[in-house]
């Protein structure tokens, strides 16, 4: 077993140039982030809108180039990857977004959506790809009846399952869930969370979850990192974060979680 964390981020910063009222001003979306993610764990990144969570996710997925700092994935410096190694990295890190209706092509059927990543990579014959897509859809709990439907004919929960199936098609090792539960009703959120939990155990996946919902993350994640103004200000096991929050911003987030009466058994 490899002890090196799957992801090791050091001193990551990202500066965006911005023009405000005719003058140019820079925004530091990330201001020196250090973060490690161990294999097979679920780490949540919690913070308010604008705290830099999504920028960090995009840098990690290779969609943005950081201004400074280093990202190592499975020991390799991501910035130095080229050719086949870079393609392999992009397969191994997959993103899942909040709005599955916007993330999935409205013109493709469910099976086409799931098999497209394989087609792009020239893997398998068309019939094989369809068969594999059907298998994946079964894995995420989608009935075979939806195979030829398009995203807008599916419910929100079904669409999010479809997005998961597509992400899994290229056998990733890290899934970045960017507010993947937001916008779903609570019971559907719980179902999607249970599915992701099961997949993680079965496929040995690692998750980085991005959310502003501390309550949901405290149930779903092993550890929670609190992000504030481009930095990670605190990181702890979820229960500890609630019982003994250290940073003032963590305390504000904990205080914002509404108290819901406990369910009598």
């Amino acid at each position: 077993m490899n002890d090196e964390p799957l992801v090791r981020i050091r001193g990551l910063s990202k500066r965006y140039a911005r023009r405000a009222a005719g003058r140019s001003a820079a925004v530091d979306a990330l201001a020196g982030v250090d973060l490690t993610i161990d294999r097979g764990t679920v780490v949540a990144l919690v913070g308010q809108s604008g705290s830099g969570k999504s920028t960090l996710a995009r840098c990690l997925a290779g969609q943005e180039e950081p201004t400074h700092g280093e990202i190592r994935f499975d020991g390799a410096d991501v910035a130095s990857l080229r050719g086949a190694a870079l393609r392999a990295f992009r397969e191994q890190v997959q993103l899942l977004f909040q709005d599955s209706a916007a993330a999935l092509s409205p013109r493709l059927t469910a099976t086409e959506i799931v098999s497209e990543p394989l087609e792009i990579r020239g893997l398998g014959a068309p019939a094989q790809r369809r068969g594999y897509a059907m298998e994946l859809m079964e894995t995420v709990g989608l009935p075979s009846a939806v195979a030829d439907r398009r995203p807008l004919d599916l419910s929100g929960g079904q669409r999010q399952r479809l997005a998961i199936a597509r992400a899994l098609a290229v056998k990733p090792r890290l899934l970045i869930l960017d507010e993947a539960f937001a916008g779903l009703d609570a019971p559907i959120q719980a179902q999607v969370a249970a599915l992701l939990h099961e997949l993680r155990l079965r496929e040995g996946l690692t998750y980085l979850c991005i959310s502003h919902d501390l309550a949901r993350m405290s149930v779903f994640a092993d550890e929670v990192a609190i992000m504030f103004e481009g930095r990670i200000v605190e990181r702890a096991a979820a229960a500890q974060l609630f019982s003994a929050p250290q940073h003032p911003h963590t305390r504000a987030l904990v205080a914002a979680v509404p108290a819901v009466p406990p369910l009598a058994s």
Partner: protein, 270 residues
């Protein structure tokens, strides 16, 4: 004393090619003056349709098939459009989920609050402006002058939702309808807006009917919760009753799915 709002046997249907689809069936409930009532249900259960029916703003494809909606003792369904226009905004106001969509992006927000006052009160532009400024102060903009001249895009999501609240409250309505008012906000902003709603309710004696699928948001402000499922009310009670000892399987499922945190007296699911 009769309730401020009394809905009785209300049925609303959408006409579709496949026949009528019932968005509300046999709805009976009331809201007293100054009371915060939560309306809990999943997307598509009929919450928004109910709120729109109260305001007489149903889309053309929907119709009230039967029932009555009494506000201050008079049935809103029997009042002419001109009279409803006077009620809407002045006596009953509504805020929606997405404040970015509710505001005109190319007009300053202060003018958009003053416009509500102008529509209902026969007074000078200067006095409309003063009323708008004092309402903006009430929803937490202190001093309100700066935000008055801001455009919606210059404000954060929480600030925009407070502007929308100011629009709703500018004419001192007795009843505020709120359709998922915090769903598009992040958790700390959500807590801030809920806190503001609670304080406005207490200060102004405002009655609020708030639709949401979020138990947490309703538990934070509602004195009573109505649970809506597939167009019908399946259960009603205090938050402690509805979330703690749910009677209906649907409510039980909702309560079970809510992530509770150990420290705050809830239970953490396994």
């Amino acid at each position: 004393m009769p309730g401020l709002l009394e809905v009785k046997d209300l049925a609303v249907a959408y006409d579709t090619v496949g026949g009528p689809v019932w968005a509300a069936k046999d709805l009976t409930f009331d809201v007293e003056g100054g009371e915060v009532v939560g309306l809990l249900g999943e997307s598509g259960c009929g919450k928004s349709t109910l709120l729109l029916a109260i305001l007489g703003l149903l889309p053309p494809s929907a119709r009230v098939v039967k029932g009555s909606i009494r506000f201050r003792g008079r049935d809103l369904l029997e009042r002419p459009p001109s009279e409803l226009r006077r009620v809407r905004g002045a006596e009953i106001a509504i805020v929606f989920q997405d404040p970015a969509l509710a505001l005109n992006p190319v007009r300053r927000v202060g003018a958009q609050v003053a416009e509500v006052v102008r529509a209902h009160r026969d007074q000078s532009p200067g006095r409309c402006r003063d009323d708008a400024l004092s309402t903006l102060a009430e929803v937490g903009f202190n001093p309100p002058d700066r935000v008055y001249d801001a455009y919606p895009h210059e404000l954060s999501g929480g600030q925009r939702q407070r502007v929308v609240l100011a629009q709703a409250l500018a004419c001192r309505p007795a009843l505020l309808l709120a359709d998922e008012p915090t769903a598009s906000l992040d958790s700390t902003t959500q807590a801030e807006v809920l806190g503001l709603l609670a304080s406005l309710q207490a200060r102004l004696g405002l009655a609020v009917l708030m639709a949401s699928h979020d138990l947490g948001a309703l538990a934070a402000v509602a004195r009573r919760v109505l649970v809506m499922y597939a167009g019908t009310l399946v259960e009603t009670g205090t938050p402690a009753q509805v979330f703690g000892q749910p009677l209906h399987p649907y409510t039980r499922g909702l309560s079970l799915a809510y992530p509770r945190v150990a420290m705050r007296g809830g239970v953490r699911p396994p």
